[in-house]
Structures are given as C-alpha cells and as structure tokens.
C-alpha cells in the first residue's frame, strides 16, 4: 500500500535490496516493474507511457535521454517539472504526466 510508505521506510528498503531485485512504481496509474538504477524516463518508455501533454494536448514521451529536451518532464510524487531522465526510480514513486 502506497500510503504506508514513509520516507524512512523507503531508505531502509532501498539499502536492504539487492541491486537487481525488481520493485514497482506507478506511471499514470499503471504499475510498472523496474529495477534499482533504472531512470524514471526509461521506466516511462518501457511501459509505453507518456510523460507530458503538449500545449495542444498531444502525448509526448522522453526524447533526448540526456536532460536537454525537457520532453520527459513529469510530476513526481506531486512535484511538477521533474526531468525524469535525470532521476532514478525509487520505491513508492508515483509519476503523473503533466
């Protein structure tokens, strides 16, 4: 249950995890299985999801992979405009296209 995830719990769990043990994050309401060290943008792409809607409402997904194009920016745990290609997946993360 997401609501039970406190910051403390996240840190403890991340440390005790082996490098390759999968966990899941939520992207636009969909559960996505990811691994430690995976970027959020890579998770968005692997789920065939989108990261934002353009000015005209069209879906957009990560493009450049190196923090330049800003197409991967999304709302992460309530914080908008996060460049998801520069951010690693962590337990209890919730990503919402913006």
């Amino acid at each position: 249950m997401r609501t039970e995830c406190s910051a403390h719990f996240v840190v403890m769990d991340a440390k005790s995890d082996s490098m390759d043990k999968p966990f899941s994050i939520i992207v636009n309401g969909q559960d996505v299985s990811v691994r430690q060290g995976m970027s959020v943008a890579a998770a968005i792409l692997s789920a065939r999801q989108f990261s934002r809607r353009s000015m005209n409402g069209a879906p957009r997904a990560p493009l450049c992979g190196m923090g330049v194009c800003m197409e991967c920016r999304a709302t992460v745990n309530g914080t908008p405009h996060v460049r998801t290609c520069q951010l690693l997946c962590a337990e209890c993360m919730e990503i919402e296209a913006q």
């Binding site: 995976m38 065939r48 989108f50 957009r60 190196m66 290609c85």
Partner: protein
C-alpha cells in the same frame, strides 16, 4: 557557504574528468560539477554501475574514476549551473540548495547534444534520439525483441545499432543520409590516421551484419495513433514503410554552447574558438571536448589533460600534449565533412509540422519570420523550457538563422535561486 576553488570544471564526461583529476593531482583545489547522478557523461554513462561488463571503454572510465577519487577533487553530481552573477563566479543549484562558487580558472566541458530535424510525426511517443535510445538503454530500458529503426546521420548510428543488437533488439534498418562515397572517404582517412576508430566501426558493422545499412536514406515521416506505429523511409528516392516499436532519429551532434555563450566566449563556425592551450576568448575560461569541435572521446581526454595542466599552472606539461591534438582536430573536420546535411532534409517538415516541441510552433508560422529573434517574439518558438536547445539547431538548418544567444538561467531553475534569495554566502 560560498566557496572558492582554484579550478572549477563543468561537465563530468571523459574530458572533464581528465581535466579535474590532473588539476587536483597538481595540488589545486578543484571542483567538478555535473548534472547527472554519476560521472561519465554520455559516452561513459552507466559505467559506474557494478553490473556493467569490463569492456576496454569501461576500463578507461575506471582508471580516470580512480585517479579522480585519489586526487582529492570535490565532485558535485546532480548540480546545475544557472548563471554567472559576477566575474569568476558561478551560481549552482543542487537539490534544494543554491550556492555561489568563485574560481581562479574555469574549464567548460559541457559536451554535445544530438541535432534533431523535424519531420511529420517526430513528436509521437516512440520517436526518440539515437544517442537518446542508447542513453535510455543504459538507464535500464529493456529493448529485447523490440522492432527498431535507426536513422539520421553520424557514427552513432552504427555504434548504437551494434549495442541494440547485442542487447537483443530487432534492428530493422539503419538509414544514413550521407552518401556512400563520403562514408568511403571517411573510412579511408580513418584507416590511415585512426586505425583503432576504424576497427571499432568495422566491429560494429560485423555485429550488425544482418541489418540493412542504407546510405542516402532518411525518414520521411512517422505515423501512428497516439504513438509510433510505422516509419516511412525514403531510400534511393522511393518510399518504404516499416512497422516498428521505436524510431531513433538524430543528425549527428551539436555542441552545448549555452554556458560558453553566457560567459561571452567567442564562437566560430559553431564551436568555441580556443588556442592550443584550450583558452577561450574570455580570460580564465578554458573550453574542451565537443565544445571546440565534435571529435569524441580521445580528443576530449587529450584536451582535458591540456586544460587541467594549464589551469594548474603546469604549462610545460600542457604544451607537451599539443602535438597529439593535430590528428584529433583533423578527425573533427572529417566527421563534419562526412556527415554534412543534405539540402533535401530541409523539405521534410511540412507546413503543419511542429518545429518547436515545447511551444507547439509549426513550420508555417516560422516561415513568416525573418530571424530567430522575430520568431521568438511572434511565435514563442524557442521560448519554452528547453530554451531552444532542440528547435534552435533545427531552425539554423531550415532557415539559416543565427540562434546562438544565451542569457541566464542557463537551465530552468527556481526564481529564488536567480534572485539570489536563498544563495548561501559566508
């Protein structure tokens, strides 16, 4: 906590790592600043992870990584340079904090990004950069079984096709806009002067031998409902439709000139003008790597060592490396010539094709403008969060505009950081 460093290096790719390690080994107080979670830049991305295999490239990364760690250099990851509020000072945003750092010498190693050219459908999810796809793969994207088309121009096409193939993807085609003849010329030059680079190319082609590698070929458009379903390629003048999951398309690289421009460094022919000690036109500011000409790893490391030595006052050591530079600068010229863009690509974007992705500005609206400045004022092209990093080089090619201008913030930051509200100073 404003702090002073003898040398600040911006960009922790191969060149930046070499420069920082060398300057710190010479006893200088050095800080290496980078946006990413770990050093390595684009080419050494993901090498920090222990799960990576021990390739020769990764061994070289680990050597510099060890030198850097032993040198006493301070490394700041996930840190962004926002502005240069006064002489010899940079304003850095890292997480929630914002700091002003002053420097004796500044070495800029901000690398390059891919050049994207607009074509119908290029904004669909599933269309991405060539180096972009490589970066996502290194960041954990599983490509096994994915049907992928690679297109555009540059040596990355072959390298990325090879790593996709090794990772189990189904690469359906590589479409290179350059002609077979210019590629043959390049191979000939490489065989003579850079046999190692040539061998790398041959190895990549061997690994992708089952993938058609078309020259004089490019993506005419991408189609799909809400995401990519197929790419239409123009090969030898006729169109070919390929159903695919991902289309990676980018046209070689352009240097990230935002910081050098912000500091006032002179730029000529699209690169920062430097002397043989890597000094730019601005006092105390040195530029290395792709900023001075797109030439890849080896050039960046040599230039990084020269700049690191120079910044640490060891000019003799710096001059000793200068003879090596010649062949690397030659390589830059060969790449530029081989992957020069053909004029037909200007016609790919149609009247209603989006050129500025941030603000959804279509080509038709830009046709009515006479300059980059006018386009910004009238259409908001280049005014979105990427600040023209993607549409700038595209409009330079499409309309011949000079889009090189820079003003703070160099990256989107908090208003408070720019105003200096929460800047920690002692």
């Amino acid at each position: 906590m404003s702090e002073h460093f003898d040398v600040i290096v911006v960009g922790a790719g191969p060149g930046g790592m070499a420069a920082a390690a060398i300057a710190a080994e010479a006893g200088r107080k050095v800080c290496l600043i980078d946006e990413n979670p770990a050093p390595g830049g684009q080419i050494w991305r993901g090498y920090e992870r222990e799960s990576e295999t021990l390739s020769p490239h990764r061994m070289e990364f680990l050597r510099w990584r060890r030198r850097l760690a032993a040198s006493g250099c301070a490394t700041w990851n996930e840190a962004c340079v926002l502005a240069a509020p006064q002489r010899n000072t940079l304003r850095i945003e890292q997480g929630a904090q914002c700091v002003d750092l002053s420097y004796g010498k500044l070495i800029l190693a901000t690398g390059a990004r891919e050049r994207f050219l607009p074509f119908p459908g290029w904004t669909l999810p599933g269309v991405l950069g060539v180096g972009g796809l490589q970066a996502f793969m290194k960041a954990g994207l599983d490509v096994r079984g994915q049907r992928i088309v690679l297109a555009g121009s540059g040596p990355l096409l072959l390298a990325v096709a090879a790593s996709l193939t090794r990772a189990g993807a189904r690469v359906l085609m590589m479409a290179e806009q350059a002609s077979r003849q210019t590629l043959l010329n390049l191979s000939f030059h490489l065989a003579l002067l850079h046999p190692a680079k040539m061998m790398e190319g041959v190895t990549c082609r061997w690994q992708t031998r089952r993938v058609p590698y078309k020259q004089q070929a490019w993506v005419a458009r991408a189609e799909g409902r809400d995401r990519l379903e197929r790419a239409i390629l123009r090969v030898n003048g006729s169109d070919e439709t390929i159903e695919c999951d991902l289309l990676a398309c980018a046209y070689h690289l352009v240097p990230n000139l935002e910081l050098p421009l912000l500091l006032g460094c002179a730029v000529e022919n699209g690169v920062v003008r430097v002397d043989e000690q890597q000094r730019s036109s601005v006092e105390d500011v040195l530029c290395i790597g792709e900023l001075t000409g797109v030439g890849g790893l080896d050039k960046a490391i040599v230039e990084g060592q020269i700049a690191g030595n120079h910044a640490a006052g060891r000019t003799t050591q710096a001059y000793e490396l200068v003879p090596e530079l010649k062949k690397h600068r030659q390589f830059v010229q060969w790449l530029d010539e081989a992957f020069a863009l053909r004029p037909e690509l200007r016609a790919l974007a149609e009247a209603d094709t989006i050129v500025c992705r941030c603000e959804d500005v279509v080509r038709e609206r830009l046709e009515a403008c006479n300059s980059w400045r006018e386009a910004k004022l009238h259409t908001r092209c280049g005014m979105g969060p990427c600040q023209g990093r993607i549409c700038g080089p595209a409009t330079e090619f499409l309309f011949g505009w000079d889009t090189r201008s820079a003003r703070p913030p160099a990256m989107p930051g908090r208003v408070g950081s720019l105003a200096g509200e929460d800047v920690h100073e002692s």
